[in-house]
């Protein structure tokens, strides 16, 4: 089973330190880890550090990976003006590092990713003509089609309507369970984090403020200290934890 742990990981751009001493327990395949924190906390940098795109001390320990390229990453920015159909843009993500010839297995993988995300209706469209939400789903498909062991998603729901937010997170839950994939997802919606993720890491100002089971991490104290809002975690009539925000501090 794939596992990922951060061992005193730091990151810097040139001389500016962005992440400092990130230390976590080991996360395992099948889990969804929420990466939480306010704007500019260092969430995207953490992803880039995992991918080796940013320098820094410490070690990102990835073990038990079986895929050729074990980590797939969906960046936040999805704006694009290339003259490519959606289908081609997903195929492209699949084919990186491979030969020019496309095999039937590759096409199958592309169709599967497109089906998983429910964007069959978009396959023939030009990616430049899509809405922000549609681009986000295509971007998620591009990450998924690489059949990774670890999937890193940077705010994948930020441009989606409520239905698609829930649908995407439900698909992620199922993929983690079915394929034993480890999914790390940066989220701003703490309600979604409570409902859909197992573990949570909270970043603020480049340091790790809390880490552990999501329900233990997302507390009124966290809301107050990190997010600067007054709030409560209540139980709904079905017993699920529910986030109630009373106001900004």
């Amino acid at each position: 089973m794939v596992s990922l742990a951060f061992d005193q990981v730091s990151a810097r751009y040139a001389k500016r330190a962005v992440l400092d001493d990130i230390h976590t327990p080991t996360f395992f395949g099948g889990q969804i880890v929420a990466l939480l924190g306010p704007n500019a906390a260092g969430k995207s940098t953490l992803f880039r550090r995992v991918l080796g795109l940013v320098d820094g001390e410490g070690e990102v320990r990835l073990e038990g990976a079986t895929a050729e390229r074990p980590i797939a990453y969906m960046p936040q920015e999805t704006r694009v003006d290339a003259v490519l159909t959606v289908y081609e843009s997903v195929l492209l993500a699949r084919m990186q590092g491979r030969r020019l010839k496309v095999s039937p297995a590759d096409l199958e993988a592309v169709d599967r990713a497109i089906d998983e995300l429910g964007i069959q209706a978009l396959t023939e469209r030009d990616i430049g003509d899509l809405s922000g939400g549609q681009r986000q789903l295509v971007s998620a498909a591009q990450a998924l089609v690489q059949s990774p062991d670890v999937l890193l998603l940077d705010e994948p729901t930020s441009a989606l309507d409520l239905h698609r937010q829930i649908a995407l997170l439900t698909v992620l839950r199922r993929l983690a369970a079915e394929r034993g994939m480890l999914i790390v997802v940066a989220l701003h919606d703490l309600g979604h984090a409570l409902r859909f993720t197992d573990q949570a890491m909270v970043l603020a100002d480049g340091t790790l403020k809390a880490c552990g089971p999501t329900q233990a991490v997302v507390t009124p104290e966290l809301l107050r200290d990190i997010y600067r809002v007054e709030g409560r975690i209540e139980r709904c009539s079905r017993g699920h934890p529910l986030l109630v925000v009373d106001g900004a501090l």
Binding site: T78, D81, L84, L107, E116, D129
Partner: protein, 354 residues
Amino acid sequence: MSKTALETPAPGRVFYRSLVARRQLILAALFAALCLSVCVDLALGPARFGLDEVLAALVSPGSVSDQLRVIVWDIRMPVALMAVVVGASLSIAGAQMQTILSNPLASPFTLGISAGAGFGAALALAFGVAILPGSVAYMVPINAFLVAMLTAFAIHLLSLKRGVTIETIVLLGIAMVFIFNSLMALIQFFASQQALSAVVFWTMGSLTKATWPKLWITLSVLAVSIPLLARHGWALTAMRLGDAKAESMGVNPRRLRLEVLIVVSLLASISVAFVGTIGFIGLVGPHIARMLLGEDQRFFLPGSALCGALILSVGSILSKMLIPGTVIPIGIITSLVGIPFFLFLVLNQRKSAW
């Protein structure tokens, strides 16, 4: 997002296969048009031979008169093929510059590589200055090539500076064009009357000086460049999704940009060095290919090559036909024909290609 979608036939795959088939057809049609154009190009010239005679000279050179054979094989053939090779080279160079810089205006012409070559050539033509000592026979093309490569190198060095974005690179190129244009004006001011006309003629671009050796050199560079670029096909296509996306797919944008810039500078410099400044091929060729074939490099790369080759080959025909008995410099033709055609395509396209 249903699980059952897996059991139903996949329409995406079907669509993709028809897309590929359509593109292969377009590439084949472009190739056929190019062959036809080369034949017509060979049949035209001051010495009047029929198409049948020219075809006979092509198929069995031994069976025709010496005069016909020499005219077709030694005079017209290098020119006709040079048009194809230079057209393909400039168009590929433009296509990949547009790809790595994500800018529709990037081309050997707009990045100052052609202007640099023009300056190098003018140095040789006006003052007999050979940048590389001892290269008197090929002084003009070698000068042109060296200055063009230096220009590309300078642009690359400047682009490495902190805070230089890909948009700035294009501006740097335009600055290069202005610098070389001023230097060129200076040379023209001091040059003798005879040298002046040579410089002006060179900057107009002409295929008439093509010879077999020049053709072979240009062709070898093209033949080496195509596989080098094709090897990065998927990565280059990914570059059009932006650096962040390309990086997320495992591409190293900076390294790829450098590698491709070297290859395309070589392609553009060698072409311009032998035939002079031929503008708009590197701009129009890739744009037409993009509209016909999209930006998947498996089709965009050969498509750009074929479009560029076809445009220059047709240009070569027109340069002989427009004023009977006079071969108009090809650079003038490509600008005259290229710009309206380009405008027509831009104004009539359904989809947005930039």
